[in-house]
């Protein structure tokens, strides 16, 4: 059995780690709360954007816009992937799951990866993916402004033809205990996503200045909304994963500390017993 001083040192170390993990858990919890509130506040805005887009589609279903162009005939199609991970580790399987999903969906040959978050950036660079590092520093704070920047850049790339399809790989919070990595297609827009419900026909809308102009602008905002939603969801998931990881780390630290305390007491007891028997042995010898 180890000596008492050694065990005491270890207990101290474990207690220290426990304090850190506990603090990290609390931080993650408060960030999680904040991110959720932010998300809730933003929802009505993007819901409106979507509704307006639906209204336009209802009124002018045969509109020809570049964003619906599937470019099926084009050779060497390039696909863009926005992949969202965290900047730091210590959050359980969160990053691993995102990486797994990304590796599964991305075809190395003709894809550009836009990593958001350090972990995924490092992984992609190390593994020889075609990486565009325009947005790596956007992970610290999720705001609509950042989403707007990304949306603008993506639409520009799409229009110029540097990418023909755009996907986002993010983590969805399916339920409180279930975080699933998910991939969704952002561009080109799919008519199916804006399916017209026969019953919901509304009287004809007028447009000022024109349906195309309004729709073009809306597309930007819509993309921004989806991006923002994905980012916030990932952000919430990240903090949730971290909270869980830190929670179990704290529990483990507690268990370990308990066990070590027991060991320590045992070792101490043994030392005392040894001492006593030595003294007794010595006394016996003197007789």
């Amino acid at each position: 059995m180890a000596n008492t001083r050694e065990i005491k040192g270890r207990i101290k170390g474990v207690e220290g780690t426990k304090k850190i993990t506990k603090a990290m858990k609390l931080i993650a919890a408060s960030k999680l709360k904040k991110a959720r509130e932010m998300h809730e506040k933003t929802l009505p805005f993007f819901k409106h954007i979507r509704e307006i887009m639906l209204d336009i589609m209802k009124c002018t279903p045969d509109m020809k816009l570049i964003y619906f162009d599937k470019r099926e005939k084009k050779e060497h199609r390039r696909k863009g992937y926005l992949v969202i991970s965290s900047d730091t580790g210590l959050n359980g399987g969160y990053n691993t799951n995102v990486i797994k999903e990304a590796v599964k969906v991305i075809d190395k040959e003709n894809a550009v990866v836009f990593p958001i978050g350090n972990v995924i950036k490092n992984y992609m660079l190390k593994n020889g993916y075609n990486v565009d590092t325009n947005f790596i520093n956007t992970r610290y704070t999720v705001t609509t402004i950042i989403a707007a920047d990304i949306a603008k850049y993506m639409l520009k790339s799409f229009k110029e033809g540097t990418i023909d399809e755009l996907y986002i790989v993010y983590t969805e919070m399916e339920s409180v205990m279930h975080l699933v990595p998910n991939t969704i297609k952002l561009l080109p827009l799919d008519n199916k996503d804006f399916k017209i419900k026969e019953s919901g026909m509304r009287e004809v809308l007028d447009f000022e200045p024109s349906a195309e102009v309004v729709f073009e602008r809306l597309t930007n905002q819509y993309l921004q909304g989806v991006l923002y939603g994905g980012m916030v969801e990932s952000f919430v998931s990240e903090h949730f994963a971290r909270m869980n990881a830190m929670d179990s780390a704290t529990t483990n630290a507690e268990k370990l500390s308990k066990k070590l305390t027991l060991d320590y007491n045992r070792a101490r007891q043994q030392a005392i017993t040894n001492e006593i028997s030595e003294i007794i042995g010595g006394a016996m010898n003197l007789k």
Binding site: K41, P44, F45, H48, I56, T144, F207, E208, P209
Partner: protein, 134 residues
Amino acid sequence: METFKLEVVTPTGIFYESDVNYIKFEAENGEMGVLPNHAPVLVAIKPCTLTIEKEKKQKYAFISEGFIEVTPEKVSIVVHLADWSTDINAEEAIKAKRIAEEKLESVSGDASRKTELKVSIERASARIKTSNLR
């Protein structure tokens, strides 16, 4: 007096929601007003002052570029930013306008950056104008 339902929505939440008599704002092609029972229309708007009239009292707010959708049920204003005239810091707006103007002069060639700065200037100007209205 007849009223209609108005809501102003921004990414940071619902800014204003109430039954009002009349609103006025600036569309791409000029000033535009909405009274109750307006025909359904969808308008792209510029950064401007939004005037809301309710019970014969007028309220002023700055709104950034966005959309106004008029439907039989309600009027929705969907914009990025919105501030009441009383909450605007005019000095800051003047400063922001000056900075944007200076930047615009130094930018050459980059068209998208230019439009961006022009929008900033428009926003700041609309802010300054709105802040004088009480």
